[in-house]
């Protein structure tokens, strides 16, 4: 846990989640500062949703845009009945969505998944940090997008 937190702090420093890229000599990106971000994300599921997720998936979790150019809805999303589904995407990213392992701790990832699955859907089996560790070890492929849902 301690190790993970150190990694998370270090790599959340810049633009989303690309800490490795910044070590690359060819990398260049217009960004405001090199500084390590000290903007704190909440540990509470609803607040994490409001601070991070709703910037794309919208406050009502119904997604946004039109078919062909949209953020998928998280509310009423049948794919989330599988509790590993959202976990894999948060751990590994998919399409235009980045992985969030650089920005959120594992307890934060579990908390926000439980909020999304319980509040915007009716799935109440709990995602735990142990689940996230299991997925990391198994390293399953990223599931297909259900962006049209």
């Amino acid at each position: 846990m301690l190790n993970f937190r150190l990694v998370a702090l270090f790599s959340s420093s810049l633009c989303l989640s690309a800490a490795l890229a910044f070590a690359s000599p060819g990398f260049a990106q217009d960004r405001p500062t090199k500084g390590e971000s000290t903007v704190e994300v909440s540990d509470e599921g609803r607040e994490i949703y409001e601070q991070i997720c709703q910037s794309c998936h919208m406050a009502d979790a119904k997604g946004g845009g039109v078919p062909g150019a949209m953020f998928p809805a998280l509310a009423g999303n049948a794919r989330l009945s599988d509790k590993d589904y959202g976990s894999i995407i948060l751990l590994k990213g998919r399409g235009g969505m980045p992985w969030f392992t650089d920005m959120l701790t594992r307890p934060q990832i579990a908390a926000v998944l439980n909020y999304v699955r319980g509040h915007f859907n009716d799935y109440h089996d709990t995602v735990t940090v142990a689940d996230l560790d299991r997925i990391t070890t198994a390293n399953p492929p990223v599931p297909d997008c259900n962006c049209g849902h």
Binding site: L14, C15, G35, S37, Q51, I52, S55
Partner: protein, 529 residues
Amino acid sequence: MFDQFNAPTRRDLLSMIGKVGGGAAMYQAMTVLGHAAESQFTGPPQLSGARPGASVLVLGAGLAGMLAAYELTKAGYKVKILELQDRAGGRNMTIRGGDTVTELGSVQKVNFAPGNYLNPGPWRIPHHHRTVLHYCKALGVELEPFFQLNQNTLIHRKDAFGGKPQHLRDMSIDYKGHVSELLGKALNAGALDKEVTAEDKAKLLEAMRSWGVLDKNMKFTKSDKVADQRGYERAPGGGVNGAPIPNDVSSLPDMLSSKVWDLMGFYSEYVMQGSMFQAKGGMDMIGKAFQARVGKMIRFNTRISKIAQDDKGVTATWVDAKTGAAGETKADWMVCTIPATILGQIDMQVSDTKKAAIKALPYGNSVKIGLEMKRRFWETDYAIYGGHSFTDQAIGLISYPNSKFFSEGPAVLLGAYPFGVGAYMLAGMTPEKRIETALKQGAVFHPAEYRAEYLSGASLAWSRMPWILGCCATWSEESRAAHYQDLVSMDGRIVLAGEHCSYYGCWQEGAMLSSLDAISRLHTKAMSA
């Protein structure tokens, strides 16, 4: 060729090499001679002699797309551009009074005074971004200085100096002073005797004394000499009270709490060094200049639903976003500049490896907020002319305008420019809440004036832009290794271009270099087909 009694000048040589070997040879020669290693730009592409009637369909009227259209037309191709928005320029845009910002979930009417603006996307051009600078000059886009580094700007850290902002100048000078004193101590204690020779030790001690402005005991303390760098309690003047009084230096722990090295590192980065420029009147002057050349080729409000190709040509199937009318546009070749966030959702006939590359490219997020103030209090009350004041709050920084110094009347500050967590937080807020947050957080720098002088504000969250759903592509070393070449490769009759297809991600230079590379390969293939 040369006067045999006079050695050729470097310029003569380069000119000759350029004539004989073309731009690539000249670039190589310039590199050998110690010039031009800062850019891969070798001048506009020398494409010519397109086959009669050959056509290219360009998807996207951002800088990459319009540059492709501009150069391909000069080479003799018939070009058509399809654009989703009702405007050209892509992320090259400027928001002014009277404009409307339409995001997913909100619409803002912008109330800035005439002449004031916010560049929500690109806003600064480094001196070595030769492609952008070349086309600005060629197309008559007037550039003016962008004040990147200003030592009189401020640093705010919640946990430093009780939250009181400090001047970048003071922290930088205290940093080198304290580090010099410590290194001097280590050297004098013999701690580095195994690392450096006696001769280098003497040089280093002299360097620390001079660079760190240390006193005769090798201490960094308040003194007239330090004040000559750091500033004064009472500045030098004339007459009876002309003598300056030095100000206090900060303690080592206080200086460390400012984390000033972050900013010193930031300003040391290659892409963040001066000189820098901005387009006079707004960055969208570049997009407008291209549009003046290729605007007639653009079909606006055109949403691509399918991209297909066969051995005869390419077909883009589309729907008119305003009328709902459906259509198809065909051509021999295609340059596709649609961002990966959108392209990954379009049915596209390319190889599985290219599809995988498109879908393995997440986009970063960013937000910019413009705050119009009644007067330039940062100039009149703080002597800050351009530059950035950084904070560790969600807004990331505020930045001061780079033009119309000393003028009366309202001016627009950049009130927020975060990536990462701060950007997500601001993007998820309503536009009103963003402004409120920007006013509250930015007020740490100018507490007496910030709210009192506020007139109006506008914001743009890139994740909420329906035509891109993000700011720009985020590569990692792993994803570059796995997918970059697949993304940029020519796939049958289709080639992709844009900042995401470059190693200058998130910069206009990357979009334009990518475009020039893409059309050069397209032309070679078209000529050999």
